[in-house]
Amino acid sequence: MSASSPATVRHGSKPAWALVVHQFRYDLRSFLRNRQGRFFTLALPILFLVIFCSVFGNGTVRVPGGRIKESTYYVPGLVALGIISASFVNLVISVTTQRESGILKRRRATPVPAWVLIAGRSLTAVVTAIAIAVVLVAIGGVAYGAHLPGRTIPAIIVAVVLGSVTFCLLGYALASVIGSADSAQPMTQAVMLPLYFISGVFVPSDIIPKWLTNVASVFPVRHLSQALLTAFNPHTTGSGFAWHDILILGIWGIGGLVVAIRRFGWEPKET
């Protein structure tokens, strides 16, 4: 071989970022054509928003700084759910399925670097998460009169992107320990459903007992929804960055990255 080290190997005239975009385009197309993925990732968060706002829409929830409308409360929580659906649930299912069916193994026989495949798939999740966030905010604001933030938009963007990346990394970590495509869906739901309840996504956090909130505070779901709630809360002063929550999310992301690097495999797990 020539003296070129792996870091300098280029793909023809294509720079590495173009290869990531190439992968992203086809991953996104695959995602949009998958009925199950579309339903769980795009339709379900909207359905939840409609249901929760219709059922509790006129009440208020106590949050730091005062009380806010239920609809204002549910928008950030369901944005968190949408981010997690796009980045974690959908990614775990699709990556596990692709690994078990040999698709990832075949891709690894080509010159494409592993990190390009991961980055392309993660970019699909981040873009989907941003889209679902925009849709939820729009529906919440227009249909249910949820408070629309202005000044805190940068904080929201940071929370959406950081949350999405964190849950992608956690998704690769979970996919690395799941043995079959069939168990991917129940596994992700078994992990996430209880966390949604105790983290204040489904139930207003002012009625959740303190000890349950303490349990939830260990896990990243609550910190994502809190970071978003801080930015959406009309009583928030300043730019709306919840640094404490952002820090803990980042720690979870790094933890996921470490597990994924150590454990993630490209070939079907031998039975």
Binding site: M1, V9, S101, G102, P111, V112
Partner: protein, 292 residues
């Protein structure tokens, strides 16, 4: 070469020439796929030397992967992408891919170019597998049981594709369970059993097939004893089942001459006479026989 605790193959020593179709045969569990995966760079080996296109696959990078194509024994196609999109995706991984439409045509998928992977039949999926292995315009193609599960018509079509690859100057490393496939396609055949090479040669010479004895069998006419046969014929009787005799000889024509002269003289028709040269399958079965 071994992985885990189990030594899958040992003492495998083989060389494949550029431009050759090399068939790697052996029973299930003989170590074919392991050997292939070592050469494809998927598996680390515990010992020995492997050089593929001048590079050790264990340490090969993307430059080397530009030059190989792989059809895995089991791999699904991308279910949500059409044949064309799938080839566009994979083509994008390479510096100098083959033209997409060309490759679709080569694999015989032109009519299915806009069909999604999930809606392809088994044979069409396998052809897409082959197309994906070719999209990078590789010098060397690994095919792990490319036609398993094909109907005879689809198998013939696949053979045409593989023969076409050879015409393009590609080197092909093939594993298969089908002797006709090896015989039809391969320039050279290597048989492994229980992790060791048991024979190597061209389809015509494998396992001494070209110098193997021919078998002549017939049923003795009623009332005729084997002792009545001419001495040259009686001397080569190798097996006897009731009145059915089996003769084995390197010079079947001599034996047949003596036998037919005798039969004509005594008015026996010997209507069920059968002359049989060992097929590749006979040779293969003899080579891979497991000790009971």
């Amino acid at each position: 070469m071994a992985y885990g605790e189990f030594e899958a193959v040992r003492g495998i020593d083989l060389e494949v020439q550029r431009g050759e179709v090399f068939a790697f045969l052996g029973p299930n569990g003989a170590g074919k796929t392991t050997t292939l995966e070592v050469m494809e760079g998927y598996r680390k080996r515990s010992g020995g030397e492997v050089s593929v296109l001048g590079v050790d696959p264990e340490h090969a990078g993307s430059d080397w992967r530009e030059r190989i194509g792989v059809v895995l024994q089991e791999s699904d196609v991308e279910p949500e992408l059409t044949v064309r999109e799938c080839l566009q995706l994979y083509g994008g991984y390479y510096r100098t891919p083959r033209p997409v439409e060309d490759t679709i045509a080569l694999a015989g998928l032109s009519e299915k170019a806009d069909t999604r992977g999930a809606r392809l039949s088994g044979g069409q999926r396998r052809r897409l597998d082959v197309a994906l292995a070719l999209i990078g315009d590789p010098e060397l193609v690994f095919l792990d049981e490319p036609t398993t599960g094909f109907d005879p018509l689809a198998r013939r079509a696949a053979w045409d594709v593989i023969a076409g690859l050879q015409a393009l100057g590609k080197t092909i490393f093939l594993t298969t369970h089908y002797m006709e496939e090896a015989e039809h396609l391969a320039d050279r055949i290597c048989v492994i059993a229980a992790g060791e090479i048991v024979a190597e040669g061209t389809p015509q010479t494998l396992g001494g097939r070209d110098s193997a004895r021919s078998e002549i069998s017939f049923t003795l006419p009623a009332g005729v004893d084997a002792g009545a046969l001419p001495p040259a014929v009686a001397a080569v009787i190798s097996d006897r089942q009731g009145r059915r005799l089996v003769l084995e000889s390197h010079e079947p024509l001599e034996i047949l001459g003596a036998l037919s002269a005798w039969a004509r003289e005594h008015g026996h028709a010997l209507a069920d006479i059968d002359v049989h040269r060992p097929t590749l399958e006979d040779t293969y079965l003899k080579l891979t026989e497991r000790p009971q």
